[in-house]
């Protein structure tokens, strides 16, 4: 009988080990080298002096402020939305699902343009708001709106999926025990899904922090008003390159911390029945 899969010999095993090592090292280097290049492009002294630059502080503050507000709105509106959506069937549910996911595949510039066409000074809604003296485009509020538009799917998808996976018997049992829907949500649904929700929230915050395309289209690039960190990097490329590098390094550090946080949180699972 022919041997289809001969036992690998020592030479063959060495080749497999070398092949696997080359693969892992090349992928790691491809991802790590550009990040390392950022750190190598500056010196600690230059980095510290650039961090204290008012343009960097202003962009950092604006990014953290707008991303936090965006996240807060996504959590406040998105959590009940995802829960109600996952627990009910209604006409057009599939379309709503698709619309929720749409910003994930939509180029951010398209999202920004769409927001501008709707809320801009001569936009469908913007022209009516303008009549009351309300201007949304090219304001800090526009930054928040753009961030919510592009980052909310990260949280909504996660929350929908967590609520859908939760065994309905928990909520049904709680109902038979006399608990109100609000108490069921706070004491049963939320604790059983919180670690997944937090990791979804962290990803949303990260996406909002890194948002560029939609923001520049809808909110512009006004220092202190709409110039977030990614936009400040863009401006730095045309002016003070060190400012761009410093902000880029700050974003790398924040992103790395976020990914570590997500990893830790996703490991903290509650034992299920």
């Amino acid at each position: 009988m022919p041997i289809l899969f001969p036992k690998p010999g020592r030479c063959r095993r060495t080749l497999i080990t070398i092949g696997a090592s080359v693969l892992i090292i090349s992928v790691t280097l491809y991802l790590a080298l550009p990040v390392a290049a950022l750190f190598l492009r500056t010196t600690p002294e230059l980095f510290i002096s650039s961090v204290c630059d008012p343009r960097v502080i202003s962009a950092l503050w604006l990014s953290l402020f707008t991303s936090t507000i965006s996240l807060g709105i996504v959590l406040l509106v998105g959590t009940p939305f995802a829960y109600v959506h996952s627990r009910n069937t209604y006409p057009g549910k599939m379309i709503v699902d698709t619309l929720v996911d749409l910003p994930l595949v939509l180029p951010p510039a398209v999202a920004g343009l769409a927001l501008l066409v709707l809320y801009g000074r001569i936009g469908f809604i913007g022209k009516y708001l303008n009549m009351f003296g309300i201007t949304l485009a090219f304001t800090t509020l526009a930054v928040i709106m753009a961030q919510i538009f592009v980052s909310s799917p990260f949280y909504l998808r996660q929350a929908k999926s967590l609520f859908e996976q939760l065994d309905p018997a928990y909520e049904q049992t709680a109902r038979t025990l006399g608990a109100s829907p609000i108490r069921i949500f706070w004491t049963i649904v939320l604790p059983l899904t919180v670690s997944g929700l937090v990791s979804g929230a962290v990803m949303t915050f990260a996406r909002a922090l890194g948002e560029f395309g939609a923001t520049i289209m809808f909110a512009g690039n006004l220092p202190g008003v709409t110039q977030t960190m990614p936009l400040a990097i863009y401006s730095g490329m045309q002016g003070d390159f060190n400012i761009g590098i410093t902000i880029a390094i700050l974003l790398v550090i924040i992103s790395f911390a976020i990914m570590i946080a997500v990893r830790i949180l996703s490991q903290r699972e509650i034992p299920h029945a």
Binding site: Q172, T173, T176, G178, A179, S180, R183, I270, P271, A273
Partner: protein, 233 residues
């Protein structure tokens, strides 16, 4: 005392079931997969609304399609133990049992006294501070039973209470069910697949097939076929 006549159009058939259970009586509902056993429990509990029919608990209408009465699930006072127990895994045994009592707004002393009573009764004293998600199948089932009974329900419903339990746990859970129903003198509906379980805990057996009552009698009246599968009888 439970008197229920419920009708509901389902995807494959129309469920039309009549069921009665007296004080301290365990009525075992049997039938093949998809016969409508769990749906019957859901209809009686109020988790699913019947199309027509009536449900009376201790002489009070909790549902009557004719008069439009429909008491919400939360107010029906039904202790429902779901398949796989559905204990809240993030809460301790104590907190699981206290869950329903908190909705009754009892004072702290009364609440801990009642929880303590059920913790002792179900032999859960040594594990009362443990998260329910870390318990064995038998322990979870006893916690679920204690949680359902702690609120002094007017009716106890058990959906496959012995599924996925080891032999030793089945014996202790059966004993706990029989003891509690007799002591509290409440009607009890228990869904099971196994004739042996029906023999051990049932005072009466009600067999369903495609949503209809097809046989009713005492466990001793079940025709002996040497099979443990109700579908083969």
């Amino acid at each position: 005392m439970l008197e229920a006549t419920v009708k509901k159009v389902l995807r494959d058939f129309t469920l039309d079931v009549k069921i009665r259970a007296g004080h301290g009586e365990i009525v075992v509902i049997m039938g093949e997969n998809g016969a409508g056993k769990s749906t019957t429990l859901n209809l009686i509990s109020g988790l699913v609304t019947p199309d027509t029919g009536s449900i009376r608990l201790n002489g009070t209408d909790v549902f009557d399609a004719g008069t439009g009465i429909e008491v919400p699930v939360e107010d029906r006072r039904i202790g429902y133990v779901f398949q796989n127990s559905a204990v809240f895994p993030h809460l301790t045994v104590y907190e699981n049992i206290a869950f329903g009592l908190r909705a009754m707004h009892l004072n702290h002393e009364t609440l801990s006294e009642r929880v303590g009573h059920w913790v002792k009764k179900m032999d859960l004293v040594n594990i009362s501070a443990i998260r329910a998600g870390n318990l064995s199948g038998g322990q979870r089932q006893r916690v679920a039973l204690a949680r359902a009974l702690a609120t002094s329900p007017a009716l106890l419903m058990l959906d496959e209470p012995f599924a996925a339990l080891d032999v030793q746990s089945i014996v202790s859970v059966k004993d706990a069910i029989c003891r509690c129903v007799t002591e509290l003198q409440i009607p009890c509906l228990a869904v099971t697949h196994r004739i042996a379980d029906a023999h051990d805990v049932g005072d009466r057996i009600c067999v369903l097939s495609r949503g209809k009552n097809v046989w009713e009698g005492k466990p001793s009246d079940i025709p002996s076929s040497g099979s443990n599968d109700i579908g083969k009888i």
